[in-house]
């Protein structure tokens, strides 16, 4: 199988994205580079980035695993909730 980007992989999943609210809130003033690097590496959906000294995140494509919440211990990720009912990722294989 040819190498695939995470973005391409997410294209095979079904999402019902909440356009109004993100279920994850990050701390944009967090600057611990070593920990941010781990957070960026950890997300299976590759949704965390460190651009120009700033932590950036988008909830679109979130697989709702909870890794970011656990790895950041309340620092980089300020709050983590489940998306509203029937929203977010919808697995058909699982």
């Amino acid at each position: 199988m040819a190498k695939m980007s995470v973005d391409d992989k997410l294209g095979f999943d079904k999402f019902v994205t909440d356009e109004h609210e993100s279920h994850i809130q990050i701390n944009e003033d967090y600057h611990d580079e070593a920990e941010i690097k781990r957070l960026v590496m950890a997300c299976p959906a590759n949704l965390y980035h460190y651009d120009d000294g700033k932590l950036v995140f988008s909830h679109e494509g979130c697989l709702e695993c909870g890794t970011c919440r656990v790895i950041s211990g309340g620092k980089g990720v300020k709050s983590w909730k489940h998306p509203k009912g029937a929203m977010g990722v919808e697995f058909h294989q699982g």
Binding site: M1, K3, M4, V6, K9, L10, F12, D13, V16, A34, K37, R38, V40, M41, A42, C43, P44, A45, N46, L63, E64, C65, G66, T67, R69, V70, I71, G73, G74, K81, H82, P83, K84, G85, A86, G88, V89, E90, F91, H92, Q93, G94
Partner: protein, 431 residues
Amino acid sequence: MSSEEKFDAIVVGGGLAGSAAALTMARAGLDVMMVERGKFCGSKNSSGGRLYGHSLEKLIPNFAAEAPIERKITQERLSLMTEGGALSFQYGSDKLENLKYPSYSVLRSKFDKWLADKAEEAGVMLTEGFLVDKLVVEDGKVIGVMTGGEEFDADVVILADGVNSLLAQQIGMKKELEQKDVAVGVKEVIELGEDVINERFGLSGNDGAAWMMAGDPTGGNLGGGFIYTNKDSLSLGIVTTISDIGRVDVSVPDMVERMKAHPAIAPFIKGGKLKEYSAHLVTEGGLKMMPELVRDGVLVAGDAAAMVVNLGYTVRGMDLAIESGRLAGEAVIKAKNRNDFSAESLSVYKTLLEESFIMKLMKQYQNLPGLLEDHIIFNDFPKMADEFAGMVYKVDGGAPVALPMIALTVLANNGGLANLFDLGKKAWEAM
């Protein structure tokens, strides 16, 4: 109470634990509502993909005849992998074909939906697409749930809301997960076709293979890789402990690509097409990370209660989830007969768990997580296996070296016997 109706029990989460609990209670005539946040039960669920059938067999005898199972596992594979090599072990036997309680590969979005439908058929009111925002607590007793802006009351709430049980955390029954106690699993379902799978794995009919890998897939991090054969697809993925992320310079999603590109794996997935990409947490801390299981008006079951054992060569969670769900249901039935839903009355759940295989397993392996934290197993063993086999099977016209000498050389190159001795001692103590 805003709702007219008060349920005997509300189950939060329509996964395997939740459905097992709901089904058990509905069969006894209890008035049960099960609330699932996904659009349908199973739509938020993913796991490696192997169900040991024994506990579901008690609930639905001969379930495999009607359930959407993928294949019956009759072939076991294990590989110790380095970046370029793999020492593999394959076991197939009529012993695996004729097990009284076989194991099956399953795809959770289909399988969990089927079990939830069984619960619904038994009389459970299934409410899908609703997230329970919080538990309703009165005088320290859980009396219901809030969902969709409405309150629903019940004598008992069973929390079967999975590894990220924010509800159990909200009321203080469970602490936040710690990095060293949880792993993230990332998985691809890859379509290959039934014939191709049978040919590549040497399988026929409905027979399936389970393949675990340690070493390279995770760059030597705690964890490993897995492949399970489904009917016409493979479940392929990696599991890596969160505290180890960043230990090597490979991101979690790249670990999957690294595994797929490995020379021992690539030929098996050649020409495959991705069907779905998923991720899910796996608790690994064992007994010591289990939360409080019972309080006034509330029980915790399945992944929410960290009922998972990681034995290194296999990870078991689904069979524990089903058993704990059934036992939670039984406990509520008993409490209902007494009309007493206090923690004391509900604590029969703990007694039932103690008597079941669940607590025996959790206790027997309570020190194993500590042992598996040793990088020797995930990093040094695969490397030593590769060196050993590489020397054994090398014929280059040079002087041949006898087997014992090769073993000693490999040992000497890798810290000698002392390391192994320490590990052996730890393993002994862990059992």
